[in-house]
């Protein structure tokens, strides 16, 4: 069994990270009734005897003593991290695995990347090495950050290069929150563009997510739950509830519900690696199957069901609905419509009481409406994990390598160009040592090249599949 380390960077990254650890604890508590420290839990947590001072406290087997998250928390202002350390999860985090500063990055990628990058490089390396040492077999780094700000965007992507150099064998998965149209940070197009170049070059796999989509999903859930259609006798459980049973009050903390969706995404992504099932899917299989060419590593994700009724015996019609929903544009975590674009590859990760025949039936049913690239007509990767998420009887995570991610990039390029043409706010960046106009133009051409790749693939959509001549052999 392998371990993963989560690196949460910036305000957004840390808030999402906090939700993730809360949910992870609940998930393992629900499965692991006897409180034994097993391999599944060790994928994200260390077992530590807190009475021991210093580093000798790790326990590898037996009863759970005190769980410590395999996490590194990085933020250039103290507010969010302090709140986490004073909140209900304070004991889950190792106080030594933090890197904070006071002044913040001022929504400036250059400050995050160049200034804080060089300032904290040594410390970052030290914390990363420490967390790697605590792992028996480290497989993956998960980086959670936003693209639009300064710390998550700048320092978060600085990290990628460090990770690539220091741990070349370990996968780098990045959950990136892209700015929405109505983003109030004026310089977010610059930050996002500069961050994109780093993601292009140093990430193994990126899961783009945008706030608007998350918000729309929350609204949909609220609508269903409050519409009374579910009846009073049925207790609804949905993706946004972190506590099994209690429905969190909507205004408790901003973004909480949205962050829970991302947390669920990460948990479902790793579920088949942590828990048993009849068709396992490890994290290294994600990259292998879904990344046909190194640069095309952006995966559009969707989670279903968004809410489920307490009724456990789900008739197969509802099960099939779960599969249908995974392909609808309303369930994607970014603004994208995979059904009307071109699939390069698709992964379906199912949890719960679902068998291979259910999976096959639905693939056969949905296939005709989807367009796959000519060289990957049956490009499906599937996995079955027996353990469902907390509060659900089954769930589905769909990961698509699909050209529908292109509009997000094109829009980003447009917003960037509008600002850059006027050289608006550019001086804030150029005054940072190491920053030149070429950084911007290089980032722009990197993104343009990526968009061009997707364009070329889209152009093949309408062409009929070629019958390539096969090798002929003499008998």
């Amino acid at each position: 069994m392998t371990q993963s380390v989560v690196i949460q960077v910036g305000q957004c990254g840390n808030q999402i990270g906090c939700c993730f650890w809360d949910l992870a604890l609940r998930e393992h508590a629900a499965v692991n009734q006897k409180a034994i420290y097993d391999e599944a839990i060790s994928s994200f947590f260390r077992n530590v005897d807190t009475r021991v001072v210093g580093d000798g406290g790790s326990i590898s087997k037996g009863k759970i003593c005190s769980l410590k998250a395999r996490a590194v928390l990085i933020d250039m202002e103290e507010g969010v991290v302090n709140e986490i350390l004073q909140g209900p999860l304070r004991d889950v985090f190792d106080s030594k695995q933090l890197i904070t500063d006071i002044s913040g990055s001022g929504n400036n990628w250059a400050v995050g990347h160049k200034v804080f990058g060089s300032l904290y490089q040594e410390q970052i390396l030290e914390k990363l090495r420490k967390s790697a040492e605590h792992c028996d077999c480290l497989q993956c780094f998960f980086i959670i950050h936003s693209m639009g700000g300064g710390t998550g965007s700048g320092l978060g992507t600085f990290l990628l290069k460090v990770l690539e150099d220091e741990f070349p064998e370990v996968y780098r998965f990045v959950a990136s929150i892209y700015p929405s149209g109505e983003d109030d940070v004026i310089t977010s197009p610059y930050n996002s563009m500069l961050a994109m170049k780093e993601l292009n070059e140093h990430a193994d796999c990126v899961l783009p997510i945008d706030n608007q989509s998350l918000f729309d999903i929350i609204s949909k859930i609220d609508l269903m739950v409050n519409s009374g259609k579910l009846g009073t006798a049925i207790k609804p459980k949905s993706l946004v509830t972190s506590s099994a049973g209690a429905f969190k009050k909507r205004q408790e903390k901003p973004f909480d519900a949205m962050n829970n969706i991302v947390a669920n995404l990460l948990l479902n992504l790793t579920s088949s690696a942590r828990f048993e099932g009849s068709l396992n899917m490890d994290l290294n299989e994600i990259s292998m199957n879904l990344v046909p060419f190194p640069q095309l590593h952006y995966l559009v994700s969707s989670l279903t069901p968004l809410y489920t009724l307490a009724d456990v015996n789900i008739p197969s019609r509802r099960l099939d609905q779960m599969f249908s929903d995974a392909f609808s544009k309303d369930h994607q975590l970014i603004r994208a419509d995979p059904k009307h674009s071109l699939y390069l590859a698709c992964a379906l990760m199912v949890r719960g009481n679902v068998q291979i025949s259910d999976l096959r039936r639905n693939i056969e049913r949905l296939k005709p409406a989807l367009r796959f690239v000519s060289w990957n007509q049956e490009g499906w990767k599937t996995s079955l994990c027996s353990v469902p998420p907390v509060g659900h009887s089954h769930s589905l995570l769909a990961l698509a390598n699909n050209t529908c991610v292109k509009p997000t990039f094109i829009e980003l390029r447009e917003r960037f160009t509008r600002l850059y043409r006027k050289r608006a706010h550019l001086h804030h960046y150029l005054q940072i040592e190491g920053m030149e106009e070429s950084c911007f133009t290089e980032a722009l051409s990197s993104l343009s090249a990526l968009i061009q790749e997707y364009n070329q693939l889209d152009a093949t959509k309408s062409m009929p599949a070629e019958e390539l001549p096969r090798l002929s052999v003499a008998v």
Binding site: N284, E285, S357, N376, E378, K381
Partner: protein, 455 residues
Amino acid sequence: MSIVTVQLGQCGNQIGFEVFDALFSDSHCPQGLCSKRENEAYRASCKERFFSEEENGVPIARAVLVDMEPKVINQTLSKAAHSGRWKYGQHSCFCQKQGSGNNWAYGYSVHGPRHEESIMNLIQKEVEKCDSLNGFFIIMSMAGGTGSGLGAFVTQNLQDQYSNSLKMNQIIWPYGTGEVIVQNYNSILTLSHLYRSSDALLVHENDAVHKICAKLMNIKQISFRDINQVLAHQLGSVFQPTYSGEGSFHYRRNPLGDLMENLVPHPEFKMLGVRNIPQMSENSLAYSTFTWAGLLKHLRQMLISNAKMEEGIDWQVRPPLSGLPTRGKMSLNKESHFNTSIANLVILRGKDVHSAELGAFKDPALYTSWLEPVHAFSVWKTQRAFSKYEKSAALVSNSQFLVKPLDTIVGKAWNMFASKAYIHQYTKFGIEEEDFLDSFTLLEQVIASYCNLGF
């Protein structure tokens, strides 16, 4: 003589468990439809072949479990121990922490050499427990990374280290619509390598077994467990003890050798398929009776029309009339086509087995011209019934059964290869484009050879 099984990867281990369970259950089944002494001899023979003895009497499967990550092996070991009837050896497993990532190159070029010594040592220990070794089963899938890549590596090692023993690979052919996106790449690399180092490839197709579960066994929500159990039943019906000859009352000591002698006369033709009849749910079994004539008629038609099961057989397909000009090369595009065989083996078990009449299988029209039917066809008859079926028949065939599936996989892999998609994942670990081309060349050769059997 004993058979040592090597179970590789998730698929290999999950199936391996069901196979040993099926073999054990059948050998301990009281309804053998034969004398008590007969039953005991059967059980003893099965035991010698597949299990070794432990001090407290619980038989231990003659198996080595290999996987690159621990979850499946842990599950398999505990399932076996839980049953209390048989188990796996405590030290018969080899496990690592991180899987092969569905990457054939990783399984073959990284895990293989790295763990060669440990794995071969485990196998050696298991071999030493045998009084005499008949050969090896290697159970693996083609679609993933460990079963396929590491499986190919281990088979090669077995050929080097145990060159006098026979190796039969039980290969699981994946579903046509993906379980794994790179399954076609992994499959062609596996098949081309196995063709050079294995003695016979016994192929089990997921799609076919799935249909059997749906149509014949009437299972509503089919799980992998169901599929694996049907597969185990098919294997058991072939490899449970059989009498060594007509009129003999001793069980065959060299099943692998005899099978391969009959079915694999030429190294160019190693692909074997298995069919089993009847196949039904236990509930239906109580209400069904069969005649040998009926069963064999269906089995023969399944053979010549390449049906995967006894339902939906195309009765229009007929052998060509002898004396007419050669039927020509097999066309891969035609729907119904007559399946030409190189060699066939029919295994009959159950009541009145000696009255079964098999003349129809000896028809020269069924076979390619370069073997006489007397050499091309063999039958093994055993009184003792198998797994509660009063009468059951299995067919192991070296014929054009697998040409179409093979052609399909090669076509899809070639299509993907032309675009170079995913190739970087393989070159990263030392499998170059030339290796792919070599594999394509070898398999096109195999396809062409099988297609030309009609001449």
